[in-house]
Symmetry: C2
Subunit: 381 residues, 2 copies
């Protein structure tokens, strides 16, 4: 049976595009050196300020994927030879370490078992052992494992020191009600195809006053200083991803209409519901402290997650597999861009797939457990 | 009188999006790590091969604006300290020189009067004077002045030497029937929002076997070696600009359905027609050897091109002004993405605007001259 409606994606980026976004993307192009674009861009910036709850203009958008903004962070806030601590507990932590080494930082890796969250005390200890440390590079949501690193706690350690806390929040921004200024984060990286529900190709870089004082001249395409000067005035140094900027305005409006507190609450509810559903089906949640952006699952012994994925795909539901050393060991269900009422679909596909390979449970058990968990929250909402 | 249908853009990027492209952009997103994307991406690559008339797989696409691919050229084909000649005859030539200096190349600037095309003999002489020269950086179409640099002639000089000819073809690729392999070019840069008629955010980088042998390890986000390995297999190192890749497949189909010979012929006709129309209206073509991608115009003494632009804009027609030191001195009309039958619109707006400020000529003279010029070509087509 081929799915009548085609594929539904529950992958941690890209995520489903809402009609409001698709409508913007389908519009005729406008020129970027016009009052019309400038106005739209400045409006987008105002909305982004509301999203991150900051008064300052310390952020920029790049025409690149999220990795581009990670590269920008390494190049713009650190000089060659600077020592940094990279928290490596997944594929994206590895990316921080690789980027640091590529651009000649001295990288001290703080290894974290994949699936675990970093212990803030371990970071504090390592900073003390490396008094010349200039920065800590970490993920908020390490989407390869589904773990959440408590960046707010890390900021308590770094905020009154010379250490910059650089947070890859690509799968956290727009999910968590992040308050980078209030929390004391220094650099925050975001990406369009995650909770902003846009196609990939636009990245965001927010930074603190402390980080701003360290700005270097190491990049041309990702030159934060130059871009900041232009973007504050509603322009960009190079041609912006025009249609994605216009669509970001729409996506920020969608998020702010709901309100970031409620957005986070929605994701918390989905995450809690998914956790209980997964467990009642006899599967396990992989991360110790799960990010609310996605649910990462280990199937019971003898069940190949790749078989499960293929089987769900036949029902028209795409979830993600494992990456790096977790390939073939886990599968991941994204919540990003999803509504509470979307998850019964992915759970139903999972239940049918588990059943078809002989796993025993009463059909509907997962969905039922999910509904029980979200029910009081929905009532309150 | 406000234009009933809104704005029509005749700017040298971004250019109007065709309905076929807008339809693709409005589609629901697909995941990039899927057989579906892989197939579409490999198909796009096959079409691109046809476009550049090459059998080899030596090209990649980046999620960035064109400047990103220029940065990639400087970082991936040259090492720190390498000496290069930058042909500087406009704003984009300046960009080459800036990029070279930023990434610690030794840049020898070959200054060309803005509006003039580089003399191949001057390049040959400068290479001889600098036997340690590793590359020549040049524009094909310098869109800030509208001049075309004869890159085919430059390749005759560099092709049997150790010098790489690096061509910013951002406003030439998809207009000229470029044959980089046959001509002997070494690096060719393209951008989505020009003759590919897409939104900005996707860039292209083609390179020769000679250039491939020089590949360095100087960039992470723009790592050509790594991307090439992945992209040959239908994947990318980092999240690609999914929707722009899918739309590029459509745009390449549009170009190849017409055929690149006919595409170039269409642009030649438009360029010739515009030249004659502009002259019959008593205005001057700025560049000595105009690129067929756009028409760059100097109004007669006493007529402010910015006034003209504003007046045309009131009629719903947007053309571009001058950049850098040409600001307020010229205006530029793009042909990219346009059909022969589109130009009477921009000429009509120009005629009405000239008339309204008292310039004397018979209304319709420009359009008439344009039609006379394109008429035999249209018959042949």
């Amino acid at each position: 049976m081929k799915p009548f409606k085609g594929e539904r994606i529950f992958t941690p980026g890209p995520v489903e595009l809402q009609d409001r976004i698709r409508e913007v993307l389908s519009r005729q192009i406008i020129h970027h050196r016009t009052p019309e674009f400038k106005e739209a861009f400045l409006e987008t910036r105002e909305l982004f300020k509301q999203l991150v709850d900051c008064k300052e203009d310390n952020f920029i958008f790049f025409a690149s994927s999220g990795t581009g903004a990670m590269e920008a962070s390494v190049l713009n806030f650190f000089e060659e030879g600077d020592k940094v601590i990279a928290v490596v507990g997944g594929k994206f932590g590895e990316r921080w370490a690789e980027l640091g080494r590529k651009y000649k930082l001295q990288v001290v890796e703080l290894e974290v078992e994949w699936g675990k969250s970093v212990d803030p005390d371990a970071v504090e200890k390592l900073i003390k052992e490396n008094p010349d440390c200039k920065g800590v590079l970490v993920q908020a949501s390490e989407s390869s494992t589904g773990a959440y690193h408590n960046v707010k706690a890390l900021a308590e350690i770094t905020k009154d020191t010379g250490v910059l806390l650089v947070v890859d929040a690509i799968t956290a921004l727009g999910v968590y009600n992040m308050k980078p200024h209030q929390w004391g984060l220094d650099v925050v990286v975001g990406g369009s195809q995650k909770a902003f529900m846009l196609p990939p190709g636009l990245s965001m870089l927010w930074f603190s006053e402390k980080a701003k004082e360290r700005l270097t001249d190491r990049s041309y395409y990702f030159d934060v200083k130059e871009e900041l000067k232009k973007q504050k005035e509603g322009q960009t140094a190079f041609t912006p991803a025009i249609s994605l900027i216009l669509a970001l305005r729409e996506s920020l409006s969608i998020l702010l209409e709901e309100g970031m507190e409620k957005v986070e609450r929605r994701y918390r509810l989905m995450s809690e519901g998914m956790k209980r559903a997964i467990e009642v089906l006899g599967l396990k949640i992989f991360p110790e402290n799960p990010s609310i952006s996605l649910t990462t699952v280990i199937p019971p012994e003898g069940i190949d997650p790749e078989n499960l994925r293929r089987s769900m795909l036949k029902l028209g539901v795409r979830v993600a597999g494992g990456q790096g050393k977790l390939k073939g060991k886990i599968f991941r269900i994204s919540h990003m861009g999803m509504d509470i009422m979307d998850m019964p679909v992915v759970l139903s596909a999972l239940e049918l797939s588990l059943k078809s390979i002989g796993h025993t449970f009463g059909l509907g058990a997962g969905v039922g457990e999910y509904l029980k968990a979200v029910h009081p929250g929905v009532e309150d909402g």
